[in-house]
Point group: C2
Chain length 756, copies 2
């Protein structure tokens, strides 16, 4: 067995690294959340990184996923080992080629970060709808449940496709796995080489279209022989399960990590079993272990091989004691009897003669959280005399009443895992610094680490929430942090609006980036926040990181400063060691920008702790400030108040089905009600120097600056301090002129100032 | 109830006529076998044909089916009633838009002539693989089993989509239904108007994207609300079955034709039931009735509503006595537990608590024949103690042994149905004349009529076989004619190669178009044919129709002449009446080409019977001619001998699975072995006038003419009559020159003569 080398990377990186090492042609077209796999492959080849045979894979970007699939099909026919990365609608565009690639028994692996399909709305987030849509193409479908598996199965799939000649889709959960950073054991080139048989590569080459030994392929067959031709592939599909298992067993011998097509985990005498694939299996596994310790006879069956689906192996993997199965699908097919995995399991049970009661349910559509509490709700449902079939879990369905009740207080997370939450704004450096922190902890300590990052749709200037975990064991808790020991609020405006302390544990630490002096900050907090701090005995630390950054020459880049504070407060590493590692990371990240940038960042780190202050929390709250409402306006429409506002407040999960439009139709003109207050600095009109050129208004991309020329009479009753000057220009003689800024909507981008 | 108006048309025409009458925008892209639906719609609009609201639908051809689906999606969002027609890969390209159209609850009907998907080879023929590939899109899927239903369900689907807001795919079997000509009851505009509610059309309009009442649609939803949004549609899907049934009931009140979502037919106490959809249901229904008369407790469940799939309604439609179900799928999904309809039925049975044993099987892929004998094989299998699951029927699977044994002698066809087979060559007018004959009989008599036409892939000059039936009851025998009362062989070369009399009944009639005088024809027949004629007591009639055609000025167009002979011999109509109808048809068909053409055809008709002769068949065969072998060559490769040759002989159905390549790979250069002998006239080189310019060889599109300049020494041992002249040109001094024609490969196109 090779030496254990640990690395802390996300699922896409884990997968694409193996794919790049074991292919020769890679045709790509970007689609979230698979994009970074193609980008990484492109970057590796651009850097001259070679595959295990010593050649640099050719990476080519096509005009669409349809083109990528066609390019892959063509390259495969030349005998090249070929792959692509995609998701969602991208995968849909590959369907026509996929039927042909399978019909021609062509070995390849497509790596898919599974994502929702556009229906009532598009969604870039993760579920298995796209995988469900291709389950009839004749491809083997192999599911990874974690970052570690996304790497390992990328290799196992490559080995198995070459031996079986059946093409593989290797998939894992978009975002939850593709973008989760986790500490995994890296595969060495020796393992890669041992798993991929050169003989089978040669056999693939020998089947290529080649003028030296010409054959005709892609012909037309009619009623006389097409049916027989279609049945010729049966023996190949019959062999696939054994071939995958053989690859898994060989992989286990090489790495010590043993997988099975259907991995049962749980009580050996389990009566209630959940069948699930993807990251939900990790959560369910944690839950099952937790419940087993309480004496419950529960377990779960992890489906790695979704196609070919094998009833006998599935039945054999289950304990004989099973009475009830709940099959969880991360997909919805309206009008079907049930979702795909459920229908497969029902049919498999009938064929295998299993005497079990089976229910099916949907969970986690579009990266909807799937938590231990939800897994427990499913086990609880199974325990009822007449469990609900075709349920949903994770939402409130007050229309067709499919949803299960979930006890939100149920949690399985061990207390020795450090859980940290960071609130920031898109592009403020928070996410980048956190990825750095995970890498430092994951790679420089024995701790395992996990990071997951939420972004809203507003990108730069939108909200970001970073969910970090550090602990002594591999972290399989594939869901958001809901009870944090540490909360970092990197933007003061966020604590004025969002329930940032809702998920802090009693005695937890809050690090607040405050533009106010430490002495003033307490009084600037909304009353509700003060109450929470007192009630939860929160340790409150504040720093004006923007001020520190400005002083050391970093401008608005306060991320390394706050990162330093986090390390100091969390104690995951000894303080000096942490600071040394942060500085190493700074050299790595900013090295190519020159010594000056490095020095400024070093200064930021050194200044951070000096400028961080613990606030003595008073015994009673005294604040008078209310939380800032999510929407504002003279007449806020009901829909905005009941739906949009809750989404803005990050409380969209609690919106019931009845509140959502049935066909994706939304009212227009609703952004006017959302006031984000995200600008640290806003422009102030200086009437004394203004030449009334209007460039500021034209330059503002957020329509925040308005110019008005008006009758002086309307100034009557203007609020105090409202400024105006005489309008310039002959045609405006006798009129007044004002430039007004909506600072609630301003992003502080500074373009108006540049234009002035 | 409206007046019964009968019409004799194919399934595409039946469907597209209704679609054109009930839509406003039609976006098309041609793909076999749906093409003629788009063409008809285009033609109707070009002619100014109005829909039931008095406007001419806008028909627009896009750049691909992807574009057609996008155009449909867009037009629907403007509130226009919109449709398209497609099949196979075309439907695959529509998948991304289909998820969105369903997610947005947009009423529309796509009409699909279901076709195989390209896998190991493309196929233009019919099965349900394309429908299976879209079953997850959230569309209602409504299946027509016959030409009558293709018309009726086009309307029922339009009514139901408007009421339910769920989009519909209305599908029927490609070729078997789309291209079968049958006598059906036509829908009047009154029925169309009664079925399509103006209020629902207005409701669709009111939901359109319109600047007068702007809304946002096609937004992005994230993990917070996408799941809830996706579940909002549940009540709409719950209502679909009742809405379709209501439309079916209203349709029944208007037309007298009552349909149900799941139509059970058969013994009220049936124990063995076949579940099937599409034209196979027609065949199964005939078979069930036949077996019931023999006391067998059998029945069938016709699935019209494939999505939403409703377990309770399905179970309710079955008799309580059912013990075993065989679910037939016209699709294959390698790696699945079972095919789609099978998995649905198993799940439905479990959910409905049905105590039945269920097996599933594949049939009819790519228009593979599905006959009463095959339906009986399935019933027989069900009667066994351990019936085979995942069987195939209609092929010989000697690899994984899935196939059921079929007794080819079993037939259910009533003796009062006239069955006629016509063998011709593509473009020789045979198919056109037969379509004319069906129309004459269908529309001018009380007889029901059915026509189905086989073409091979060679188009012009390829083989055609026309299968015609006429009888006193509606003809549901949706398979080829295998026991013909009448066989027309329109090309003499065909009887020299193909087993044309293999399916003639004892005492049946053979009409042979012979280029030889009647007195010589018997001796020109292969010995095997003579034996068959004698053994089966065949009434043999011959005519030199090409000679008649040439004499009356019709050139090579002998179709009306042979049509006249058919009417005279078959006796379906009184001879004089038949001739009058043929002449009417000639005026209709050729009227616009002028009186002269009409007169020539009339003369052909009049001359036909005078030139037709019955041959007195001797008591014993005396011929010495062998059947012409399908392939020829010095060293015919095994594959050509065992596979290609059998396909050429129209015996491809009997090729077993083991003989077919597993991945669609075929040897190249095999056309050299096939000698078609289809030219009526072939060129003869005239050395006396030849200037050796070489134009003849250059002009030949079939590479039939070769020029050689060679050493006179090689002439030694040349066969007698081998012609050569001195080669022209100084550089060829002393050499010989020959032009040689391969008349076996010549098509008689005449281009060499024109070039000379």
């Amino acid at each position: 067995m090779a030496e254990r080398i640990m690395t802390t990377i996300d699922g896409n990186t884990a997968c694409a690294t193996v794919a790049h090492k074991t292919n020769e042609v890679i045709a790509i077209y970007p689609i979230t959340p698979s994009t970074s796999m193609g980008e990484l492959a492109d970057e590796l080849s651009a850097r001259g990184q070679k595959n295990i045979w010593g050649t640099v894979p050719l990476v080519v970007e096509m005009q669409s996923e349809g083109g990528a699939a066609g390019a892959v099909h063509g390259a495969l026919q030349t005998g090249a080992l070929t792959t692509t990365f995609t998701a969602s609608q991208g995968l849909l565009l590959m369907i026509p080629n996929m039927y042909k690639i399978a019909g021609e028994l062509t070995p390849t692996v497509f790596h898919v970060s599974a994502r929702s399909l556009s229906a009532q709305a598009l969604s870039i987030f993760g579920d298995h709808s796209d995988i469900a849509a291709i389950r009839g193409t004749g491809w083997a479908l192999l599911c990874s449940n974690s970052v570690q598996e996304a790497q390992d199965f990328a290799l196992i799939a490559q080995a198995a496709t070459l031996e079986s000649r059946v093409p593989f889709v290797h998939f894992f959960d978009g975002f939850r796995t593709s973008s989760e950073v986790n500490k995994i054991e890296e595969l060495s080139d020796e393992v890669l080489r041992a798993m991929v048989s050169d003989d089978l590569v040669q056999a693939h080459r020998a089947r290529s279209l080649n003028p030296e030994h010409p054959v005709a392929r892609g012909t037309s067959q009619g009623p006389d022989v097409y049916f027989q031709g279609r049945e010729t592939v049966n023996p190949f599909y019959v062999q696939v399960p054994a071939i995958i298992q053989k690859a898994m067993d060989k992989f286990a011998a090489l790495t010590g990590r043993q997988y099975h097509l259907y991995d049962y985990v749980g009580a050996p005498d389990a009566e209630r079993v959940i069948v699930v694939m993807g990251s939900g299996a990790e959560v369910t596994e944690e839950t099952a272990h937790f419940l087993m310790k309480q004496g419950e006879k529960v377990g779960l069956l992890k489906v790695h091989m979704f196609r070919p689906f094998n009833p006998a192996l599935l039945a054999a993997a289950l304990p004989k004691t099973v009475k009830k199965l709940a099959v969880l699908d991360r997909a919805k097919e309206p009008g079907s009897v049930g979702e795909p995995l459920y229908e497969d399991c029902v049919t498999a049970a009938v064929e295998a003669g299993l005497q079990v009661e089976i229910i099916g349910g949907r969970y986690g559509l579009s990266s909807k959280e799937f938590t231990p509490a939800m897994a427990k709700a499913v086990y609880d449902e199974l325990a009822k005399p007449n469990p609900k079939n075709h349920f949903t879990v994770g939402i409130v369905d007050d229309v067709t009443f499919t949803s299960l009740d979930v006890d939100p207080s149920f949690d399985t997370e061990p207390s020795d895992v450090v859980r940290a939450l960071f609130y920031g704004l898109g592009s403020d450096g928070t996410v980048g610094a956190n990825k750095n922190s995970i890498k430092i902890i994951g790679e420089e300590t024995d701790f395992y680490a996990q990071g997951y990052f939420e972004y809203d749709a507003k990108k730069s200037g939108g909200n970001t929430v970073s969910h970090l975990r550090f602990g002594p064991r591999p972290i399989r808790h594939a869901c958001l942090v809901t009870s944090a020991n540490f909360v970092g609020c990197h933007q003061f405006s966020l604590i004025e609006q969002f329930d940032i302390l809702g998920s802090i544990v009693k005695g937890g630490t809050l690090l607040l980036n405050s533009p106010y002096p430490a002495s003033e900050t307490w009084d600037r907090l909304p009353r509700k926040v003060q109450d929470q701090i007192i009630a939860k005995d929160v340790q409150l630390y504040v720093i004006d990181a923007y001020d520190v950054a400005a002083k050391v020459g970093l401008g608005g880049r306060m991320n390394t400063i706050l990162q330093t504070c986090f390390f100091a407060l969390s104690g995951v590493l000894p303080r000096d060691e942490a600071i040394a590692k942060i500085k190493e990371a700074i050299v790595k990240t900013y090295g190519k920008r020159g010594q000056k940038v490095i020095d400024m960042n070093f200064a930021g780190v050194d200044q951070a702790l000096a400028n961080m202050h613990q606030i003595k929390v008073p015994a009673a709250a005294s604040g008078t400030l209310a939380m800032r409402p999510p929407v504002k306006g003279a007449a806020v429409p009901d829909f905005v108040a009941n739906v949009t506002a809750r989404m803005i407040l990050r409380e969209g999960d609690s919106i019931p089905v009845s509140a959502m439009p049935v066909d994706g139709t939304f009212p227009v003109g609703t952004t006017q009600y959302e006031k984000r207050f995200i600008a640290l600095e806003t422009p102030i009109w200086n009437p004394a120097v203004c030449i009334q050129c209007g460039k500021c208004a034209m330059a503002c991309p957020h329509a925040v600056i308005r110019l008005k020329v008006y009758d002086p009479a309307v100034l009557e009753g203007a609020p105090e301090g409202f400024r105006s000057v005489d309008a310039r220009g002959r045609e405006f003689a006798g009129m007044k002129f004002t430039v007004q800024e909506s600072i609630e909507d301003c992003t502080g981008c500074g373009l108006c100032v540049e234009a002035c």
